[in-house]
Each structure stands twice: as structure tokens, then as C-alpha cells.
Amino acid sequence: MSTNPAPTGPHTAGSPGPAGPASSAAATPALTEGQASRPPGMLRRVIAQPQARIGAVLAGIVVLLALAGPLLLPWATGYSSTDFAGRPFQPDGVLGTDNLGRDVLSRFLDGGTRLLLYAALATLLGLVLGTVLGMLAAYRGGRIDSVIMRGNDVLLAIPQLVFALLAITVLGPQGWVLVTVIGVTHAPRIARVARAATASVINEDYIKAAQMYAVPQWKILFSEVLPNITGPLMVELGLRMTYSIGAVASLSFLGLGMQPPTADWGLMINENRIALVLQPWGVILPVIAIALLTVGINLIADSLARASATLNVEDKE
């Protein structure tokens, strides 16, 4: 077994971006082994790991906060101040007010929903595109394979953020642009994983059987191949979600994602960091929320990778 990310593979020209934290040792064997038994066993293995539970709790708290935050607004809003930065725990709001005299707590409560939604949609888009392209490349092989994978290499030759900035220059900072561009930049990375996973199952007997019955190609891909490559795809999904949250938040932080006066965690950090000394809460709250969210999801992704790795180790024995 090798932990080496196979430099001999035919499609390493672009290299798979920053090697995902969980994709190092644990995820590699998962790609090469056929996934014999899955979901129930896999899920139990994931939950059995304390770090998965910690991750689920951390991410769960922030997701709940982001989704329920807007509902809590009636109890939090109503504060505003003419001061540059109101002091916390004063009549002008529990955590004070920001650079424009707006209540920090209300903006924080309202600022997570869009980030989460955009990140989830972008990840989903990347997953769908990447999985379809990857499966198609591996299953059809030949010219389709090389066209898809060369296209991947070109997309991979531009750093994700630079690609996003290029798209935003042309199309402007709008929600659908953020979702599409982040999804599209995820797709080649997911396609590689899907292609490798598909390649390891297409020679199995059940695929050959389906082919002999003349099952249409799309049906083979979706009902025979797809269920057997969910392991590596789940790991990749977790990783990509972490990166999506980072990307959406980073773009908003750069002032090129969500536009003012939208309440958004990334944008809040950008707006309030000039007053970090006077009014730290406007920066610290969203920073903590984003940190807990990404760390939590990454912990889950890492235990998914471990779970599918141990699964394979036991298969071999």
C-alpha cells in the first residue's frame, strides 16, 4: 500500500490542488479498493470516532445558528447608535454597534444563512458536474476521457480564487456567479476522484453483467457505478464543503462576494476590521463562527476518510 499520491498516473499534470487534509494517507486506498460493504457499516464507523462527534457538534452549532439566526432577530434588533462603535453591554445593543452604528449581534445572527446556502449550492454543483464528468471519463475512456481530463488540467492551472476573481470581473459580484464559479472550480478536482474510483469498479462482474443485459449506459453509471463509489465521493464532498465555505467567505472578505449592506460574516470581518481595537466583536464573532464551521466539517471529512480506509483494510484481511 502506498501513501504516495501516484505521480505516475496519466493525469498528474495539474496536480490536485492543495492536497486535502484528509485525502493524504487515509483516502488514497479508498480510491483504489472496491467498496465491498458500505453505508450502514461506514456510518457506524464514522460515528464511532470521537473526532467525528466533535466535528458534528461544532458544525451543527454553527449551522443551527446560521439557519435559526434570522428567526431570532425580533429579539435582538432595534438597536442602533450614532457612535462610531458602541460599547458592548450598554443600552446600545448587547455587543455594541459597528462602523455605521448597526447592531453587531443582529448582523451576526443574520449573516450566516447566505454563506451556508451559497457554499452548499456550490459544493453540490461541483459534486454533480465532477461526478458525471469523472464517471463518463473512466467509463467511456479513449477520446472522451482525454478531452475531459485535459479540460480539467486547464481549469486546474488557474488557482481557484484567481479564477473566481476573473469571473467576478466579467460578470459582477452576484450570488449565482459565486455559486457557479466555485462549483465549476471544484468540478475538476471531484472529477479526478470520481474517475479514479470508477476506474477501480468498472471491471467488476456486476458491471459486465449489466452490459451484457444491454442496460443503457446512463443507467449503468447511475445505478451500478455510482452506488459503489460513494465512499470516496463522500470524503471529497466534506473537503469541498470546507473549501467552499472558505472561498465564499474569502470573496466576501475581499469585498467581491456579498455586497453591502448585506449582513454576511465574511463582509462583516472586512467592514469591522478597521475598528478591531475599538470594537472587536464585529470581527471576532464571525471569525469564530467560520472557524468552528470549517473545523467541524473538516473533522467529519477526516473521520469519513479514516472510516473508508479501515473498511478497506479489513476487506483485505
Partner: protein
């Protein structure tokens, strides 16, 4: 055999860069509005607009404009900035050097630190030190880079301690490296983003090598432990890690964007963000191409290192 593979990789990289340049150029053609008007402003007379359009070659066919733009890149002519009215190369001159300083310093710190911590983790596998290192790297790997940067700023320059400057403020014309204290936080942030992946890969391969037959053999022969690690284990563990290192260094090319914006560091990334905000197309094109070129070159080096260090390829020849 090896030479042929390297030449093939080289050609692939050139083709990829050409395709990237097509993408960068034709994406910006979708932009609404007239570049000549963007430079001259709303008050420009039709005659002056027509003259500038002729001078900028906007009346030429698209493919001719693409070729002259591409040709300009090779001789350092990146076009005219709509925001400053001056040539783009003038705008970028010092900034390229400043960005390279940041990247090289981050790499020089992160690579040895990553290898050291990874080796230490592998040697103390399963003990306290290893668990701490694994936990810290997992958290760091999940955090978006600007979150790490903000946390460092609150810790070291504003709220907890006030030791280091949080923004770069070299007077115009002076070089950034004349103010080493201003470089500390951006460099440390970048190093903290890049190092975790190196640590995790190093730990994984080192553990594999330490379990191998030849390390056991060396120990059984009575070779001192120190020499076993330095002479027998470490060199063999480094080869797979070299690829991860190269991928991380390539990541730096895009990663500087957010970090430079956060610390107001006068580099290419900051210029890119400003240009996107101003919709300064020529500058966005030039910087995207520069970053993509850097990214492709480092990835190419990674592949070459991978080819040269892979013993399987050597014996096949």
C-alpha cells in the same frame, strides 16, 4: 525514457498555458462596455474615442487582438491600466518582487518546519506530541487563510499583545524587505496555511518507511537510532513529500491574494483585488496570467521531481 516524459510534461504545460491565456482573454470579451470609454471617461468626444479605439487596436479582428495581447505578454507589455492610465507593467514592477519575497520566505519557513514536525509526529506515533500535532494541523488545514491571519492580528498586534504591525506601510518607492517587522505576520500566516499538509504527508510516509524491512534491518544490525532515521528513513520518506511540497508552493501563488489584501501588502494579490473592484480588465488579465504561469511552472517542477524520484520509472528505462 525519463527525458521523454519530462519533455512531454513540458509541452503539456505550454499547451495548458496557451489554453489558459485563451480563457483569460476571451472571458474578458464578454464584458459589457467599451474599454476606450473606460479609460477616457464619460465626457470623451467621439473623435477622441475613435482615435483611442484605433490606437488600442479595438477595431481589429478578435484573433488579431488576442495574438497581439499574447505577444505583448512575452515582451513585458501588459497593456494599459484603465484605472491609472499608465502601462500595466509599471504598476506591477515592484509588486512582483514584493510578492515573491513573501512566497519565498513563507516556503523557506514552512517546508523545513513541516518536515521536522511530521518526522517528530511519526517518531512519537500515538503519544501526546503526535496527537497535539495532528489536532493542530487538522484545525489549521480547515481554516480559511484570512481567519488565521485575523487571529494572528488580534493575538499579536491589536487586542492581546501589541508587538507587531498589522499592516504593511512601507513608504512608496522603498522596498518591503527594509521593514522586516512588517513581514512577520503575513509570512507566518502563509506558512501556517501551507505547513499542515506537509506535516500530515510527512508523518504518513515516515510511518510507512519506519515500518519497512530495511529500517528494521538497519536497527537489527545495531545502527544507532539517530543514523537509522537520518540516513535510512528520512531520504526515502522525502520523495513522496516533495510532491506535496510543490503543490503547496504552487498554492502560494493564489494564496497570496487574500493575505496581501488582509495585511495591505503591496504585492500582486492586492493589485489584483483592486483591479477586480475597479473592473480594470488589462490588469486582471495580466495578473491572472502571471499567477497561472507561476502555478503551472511550480506544478511542472513537482511533476519533474516526481518523475526523477520515482524508482519504478528509473528501472523501467
Amino acid at each position: 525514457m525519463i527525458a521523454r516524459m519530462i519533455v512531454k510534461r513540458l509541452l503539456i504545460s505550454v499547451v495548458i498555458l496557451l489554453l489558459v491565456s485563451l480563457l483569460v482573454f476571451f472571458a474578458t470579451l464578454l464584458l459589457p462596455g467599451d474599454p476606450a470609454r473606460a479609460i477616457l471617461g464619460q465626457q470623451a468626444t467621439p473623435e477622441r474615442l475613435a482615435a483611442l479605439r484605433e490606437q488600442m487596436g479595438l477595431n481589429d479582428p478578435v484573433w488579431l487582438r488576442y495574438l497581439s495581447w499574447l505577444g505583448g505578454l512575452f515582451i513585458g507589455d501588459f497593456g494599459t491600466s484603465a484605472a491609472t492610465g499608465g502601462p500595466v507593467s509599471e504598476l506591477l514592477g515592484d509588486r512582483i518582487g514584493a510578492s515573491l519575497v513573501l512566497m519565498v520566505l513563507a516556503a523557506v519557513i514552512a517546508v523545513p518546519a513541516g518536515i521536522l514536525v511530521g518526522t517528530y509526529s511519526a517518531l512519537r506515533r500515538g503519544r501526546g506530541g503526535d496527537h497535539t500535532a495532528s489536532g493542530v494541523t487538522l484545525v489549521l488545514a480547515a481554516l480559511p487563510e484570512f481567519v488565521i491571519g485575523i487571529v494572528l492580528i488580534t493575538l499579536f498586534s491589536t487586542t492581546v499583545f501589541t508587538l507587531l504591525p498589522s499592516v504593511t506601510m512601507a513608504p512608496p518607492g522603498e522596498q518591503v524587505w527594509n521593514y522586516p517587522s512588517q513581514l512577520v505576520l503575513p509570512v507566518v500566516t502563509l506558512a501556517l496555511v501551507v505547513a499542515p499538509y506537509i506535516v500530515r504527508m510527512m508523518r504518513a510516509t515516515m510511518i510507512e518507511v519506519l515500518d519497512s524491512g530495511y529500517v528494521e534491518m538497519a536497527r537489527l544490525k545495531g545502527v544507532p537510532e539517530r543514523q537509522v532515521i537520518l540516513r535510512h528513513a528520512l531520504p526515502h520518506a522525502l520523495a513522496p513529500v516533495a510532491q506535496v511540497i510543490a503543490i503547496q508552493l504552487a498554492w502560494l501563488a493564489g494564496g497570496i491574494v487574500v493575505i496581501e489584501f488582509l495585511f495591505r501588502y503591496p504585492g500582486m494579490g492586492q493589485a489584483l483585488v483592486d483591479a477586480v473592484a475597479n473592473r480594470d480588465v488589462q490588469v486582471v488579465q495580466a495578473i491572472s496570467m502571471l499567477i497561472a504561469a507561476l502555478y503551472v511552472v511550480v506544478n511542472l517542477l513537482a511533476d519533474i521531481v516526481g518523475i526523477l524520484t520515482n524508482p519504478k520509472l528509473r528501472t523501467e528505462a
